[in-house]
Amino acid sequence: MNKYIFLLGVMLVGVVLTTGCRSPSAGVTVESYPHNKISVNSKMFGGWMTVTEVAAAKKNDLLQAQIAAQNTTTRDCQFEYRFRWLDKNGMEVSTPMSMWVQVSVSAKEKALMRGIAPSKDVEDFDFIVRFLRTSARW
């Protein structure tokens, strides 16, 4: 009887893990308002990549942001990131420039991801970084 319980336990853990791997997640997000806030939405992604620096400055009246993320593992990692730009009221400024950009980093390498606001109305940003995902899988 104990054997069955053990088997059952192993299979249940397997099912839960498989489901977990398939769950979509935003990986890690960085919000610039009201102050820089980093949220790890996926423990798996958070275990691979750590956001180490967040820098923002205005250049030519346009908000520029740079996020540094460190690959903390000893394996190469492919991921993608996206900036979403917000005006002073927190409303999204829609732009074709807000798209997923693919990046590869080597083991222990630090990736620098840069974005520039599409207009002068932009005051804040949301930054999302996650493992590569193609629309084709949907």
Binding site: Y4, L8, N60, E80, T95, P96, I116, T134, S135, A136
Partner: protein, 199 residues
Amino acid sequence: MKIGYVMIAGVLLACLAFTGCFTPPSQGYVPPEEMGTMTVGLDDHDYDLAVRDIARKMFEKGLPKGYVVVLGPVDTRECPYDVRVRQLQKSLQVVLNDEGTLKFMAAIDVMGAGGDAGTEIYRLIEYNWLNQNPIDTEDLQKFGKLAKINGILFGRVSALERRKPGNPREITYRFVWELANTETGIVDLSHEYKIRKNL
């Protein structure tokens, strides 16, 4: 023995069914800002990346307010796959229009504004660019005055393709941009962007 296996199977099925209840239904519309299916030719995502990059470069450079840019000739002869210059042009127009400081015009509209003389000079500039000849400063200045523009964005898109053992392909697209100032004749901005894809 058998009852045990039936029990395990039953519990597993229940788990799967339970998980299924929390899985939203899939649908055909997908986020267009994601990369989608990768192709050896330039796909929609590649055009977006290329436009985003040159626009970012122009924003960082900080060209004067009201600076009017026209997308001039884009040489695509060293690219074995189709390059939709019109798509690059229109996407860039949308991005610059959102930014508000820079104005963007299509070459064809500019030729209309410059009249026959404008068209003739533009053809000369285009010929020189496509044949890798130096662009005559005087031509640039004349064309700039006739069409009331401040800069012409010249482009070159080339690709190198390699077959690797086992037949996968690697292709590298190179976008080279030069923004020539039609008042001074000098290059205000020179930029290169590469997209490498493994298929």
